[in-house]
């Protein structure tokens, strides 16, 4: 059973599939349909493996185990431990703005375009259960206080993109672009050195790519609230919430796209930029990375 489709257009192989609630594709700098099938199958398998292992919607993975361990230590496997270690690094680097325990804010912030914003009282009730500094992480083990949860959604997709690109890079010669719902990494330059053209969605015109950027190597990630926001009394509330206040940052851009050497780096920087509100551009400039900021 194949749950992906393959096509060849203009000597570029294209594999399409759906994963992590997003449309995904791989573009291959080769007109070989057999190769396209093989590469896409490899990408699909890895994407599904990561989705399965780190999704918060399943009850048979390490995330479920951690989130249901209230005050007890949970042993971490290699990969989960590397992700947790990375999350701790990001928490420290961002002075607490990037926090994998902030997922429970979703209970009060429903970004389905219908619900209204929570009250300050509701926010105050949730805040005590947020803060990675309250989580104990030692000797490859993790202990979560009761009522707290972790959610790797903020890095999972970007991590999957980099993992897939890494796997494919090691196995296949042609340049490949891996795209999971707009988070992108490239394995190698194309044979003719032409860049890939990547559309950047303008949140104000969500159906069409508002502009395209050319990229030969590296990775792209976008953080934005194109379809996930609350409009309440004429005010927009973006879906990226400051874990310290429990509120979206005022004055944040509609979306931020960052180009970096890995998709993971690009994703973290893009998310942090959203949380910088009106200082987003200033923060991005400071990082010395190429970026596109839609307001």
């Amino acid at each position: 059973m194949s749950d992906f489709s393959i096509s060849i257009d203009n000597q570029i192989g294209k594999g399409k599939f759906h994963c992590m609630a997003s449309p995904c594709e791989v573009l291959i700098d080769s007109g070989d349909i057999g190769l396209a099938r093989e590469i896409t199958a490899c990408a699909v398998a890895e994407a599904r493996r990561i989705e399965h292992k780190f999704s918060r919607y399943r009850d048979d993975n390490p995330i479920y185990q951690i989130n249901h361990s209230a005050d007890k230590f949970v042993d971490l496997d290699d990969e989960t431990e590397r992700l947790i270690a990375f999350a701790f690094e990001c928490y420290a680097l961002s002075e607490g703005l990037f926090d994998i325990t902030s997922g429970i804010l979703r209970k009060i912030w429903r970004f389905d375009g219908k619900h209204s914003i929570p009250t300050q009282k509701q926010v105050d009730e949730v805040l005590p259960f947020i803060g990675l500094n309250r989580v104990t992480y030692e000797n490859r083990r993790l202990k979560l206080p009761a009522g707290m949860q972790i959610d790797l959604g903020g890095i999972g997709k970007e991590y999957a993109v980099d993992r897939i690109a890494g796997l494919l890079r090691g196995q296949y010669e042609p340049g490949i672009l891996v795209n999971l719902g707009g988070d992108i990494a490239i394995t190698a330059e194309r044979a003719n050195k032409d860049p890939w053209h990547v559309g950047i969605e303008d949140p104000n015109r969500s159906q069409q790519a508002s502009s395209s950027l050319k990229i030969s190597r590296g990775a792209i990630a976008t953080s934005g609230d194109a379809r996930r926001c609350i409009l309440h009394r004429g005010k927009r509330y973006g879906h990226i919430i400051n874990p310290k206040t429990g509120w979206p940052t005022a004055g944040s851009p509609h979306s931020v796209t960052v180009i970096a050497s890995t998709c993971t780096d690009a994703g973290i920087i893009a998310t942090l930029a959203m949380l910088q509100g009106k200082y987003a551009e200033k923060f991005l400039q400071q990082q010395g990375l190429k970026f596109y900021c839609h307001r």
Binding site: F86, S94, L97, H197
Partner: protein, 424 residues
């Protein structure tokens, strides 16, 4: 809360350990292209030209380009003088010796020898999302010629990057130090060597300003069209100090019939304006073959109008090989002051040249390039071209013995180039 630090260094250290990647960022490689070109005119000048060009991404989408060229020219070049039924004697450019030209032979200066070294530096940087700037510097040195130039251009992408506008300019300063000094224009070439050739100073200068406006429009995923408008203004010493114009006897058509019919040094105007229009269409087919055709029209205030058509087809073979036949056709009208020769006794015009390059001419170039590209680290090609330049060998103005001479001999040349590109 405002984050005010640069996080990228520590972040990529962390993500490299997450992804199991080597933490040190791999240095971007140099793209290096080496080429050697051999150009040989049948019986005349030949040139050997090694070229090394290097390109490196020094920042995000920011490129540094370096290019070194070395030219070594040897052989004989046409002086502009007409053939005679007699042996003709000319002075070498230095004025220190003479050389003879056999009867009925086109006079060529046999002492032509030059080495040119050139260095070009380019810096291409994105300024904003849709704006790029390219700054360049060029220096070139020959035995008798020094040139420096600087250029700047900006390219603005718009219409979802389907349309690009370019505006650019170049300023060039040249110094010419002719062998033995610049001869006085319109003065006779003195064969007795004493008194020597009349000189007009040792060192001469010229400046050239070029402006360019360009539009590139992407038509669809596989084709584009490009238009450029260019303007060039040259001021200063525009003569070729080694070119002569024969003064022939009004009856026999023989040069050197008397002391009043010695050849004179050419004299060109001291400014030249050129305007050009260039357009190109390029298409990549579904099988990745590439077709390109371009047309250039130039007019200048010397009266030279020219047309160039250039077309090539890159045909992809299996396994990374390709073959690319190409053709280039060129024609130009003569400069207003171009004369095959002057007649003894007629008033000498203020500006006159017999340099074949300023005469009416057509050229045809047929070539083929064969190459291999694996796209990354191993690309090579061989180019072979045959070039034929022809003009009016027997113009109506010929009389006397000139009727039997070839006053515009064809120049035929062979060009062979081998290129190899790799990453380092």
């Amino acid at each position: 809360m405002q984050l005010k630090r640069k996080l990228t260094g520590a972040l990529s250290l962390a993500s490299c350990s997450l992804l199991g990647l080597p933490s040190a960022q791999a240095e971007t490689p140099w793209d290096i292209e080496t080429a050697i070109m051999y150009y040989s005119e049948d019986g005349r000048v030949s040139a050997l030209e090694p070229i090394v060009s290097m390109k490196k991404e020094i920042g995000d989408d920011e490129f540094l380009n370096l290019k070194f060229t070395l030219d070594s020219l040897t052989g004989a070049s046409a002086t502009g003088a007409v053939p005679s039924t007699q042996i003709q004697t000319f002075s070498t450019p230095s004025g220190n010796s003479t050389y003879n030209v056999a009867p009925n032979e086109t006079p060529l200066d046999p002492s032509f020898f030059d080495t040119r070294a050139q260095f070009t530096l380019g810096w291409d940087k994105p300024l904003e999302r849709n704006l790029r700037r390219n700054l360049g510097f060029n220096v070139s040195k020959e035995f008798d010629f020094t040139s420096i130039s600087g250029n700047a251009s900006w390219t603005w992408d718009t219409n979802l990057k389907n349309t690009s506008y370019t505006v650019g300019g170049n300023i060039e300063l040249d110094r010419i130090d002719p062998v033995g000094g610049a001869p006085l224009p319109l003065s006779q070439q003195n064969l007795s060597l004493s008194p020597p050739i009349k000189r007009d100073g040792d060192s001469k200068q010229k400046q050239i300003i070029d402006l360019l406006l360009g539009v590139t429009q992407i038509i669809d995923r596989s084709s584009l069209v490009q238009f450029n408008l260019s303007y060039s203004l040259a001021d200063g010493y525009l003569n070729d100090p080694y070119k002569l114009v024969s003064v022939v006897d009004p009856v026999t058509g023989e040069p050197f019939e008397s002391t009043t019919s010695l050849p004179i040094y050419e004299s060109r105007p001291d400014s030249r304006q050129k305007t050009g229009l260039f357009t190109r269409y390029k298409k990549q087919f579904a099988n990745r073959d590439i077709f390109s055709i371009s047309y250039r029209f130039m007019v200048d205030d010397w009266g030279i109008d020219s047309n160039t058509i250039d077309a090539s087809y890159r045909w992809r073979l299996d396994n990374g090989y390709y073959i690319q036949p190409g053709v280039r056709l060129y024609d130009q009208s003569a400069a207003d002051f171009y004369r095959y020769f002057l007649v003894d006794g007629e008033p000498i015009p203020n500006t006159v040249t017999a340099d074949y390059r300023l005469g009416e001419l057509t050229t045809q170039t047929f070539g083929v390039k064969f190459g291999y590209s694996d796209g990354r680290n191993n690309n090579w090609s061989i180019r072979l071209e045959r070039y034929i330049q022809s003009g009016e060998s027997h113009p109506d103005v010929a009389f006397g013995q000139l009727v039997n001479q070839d006053l515009y001999p064809d120049v035929e040349a062979t060009i062979i180039q081998f290129s190899y590109a790799f990453q380092w």
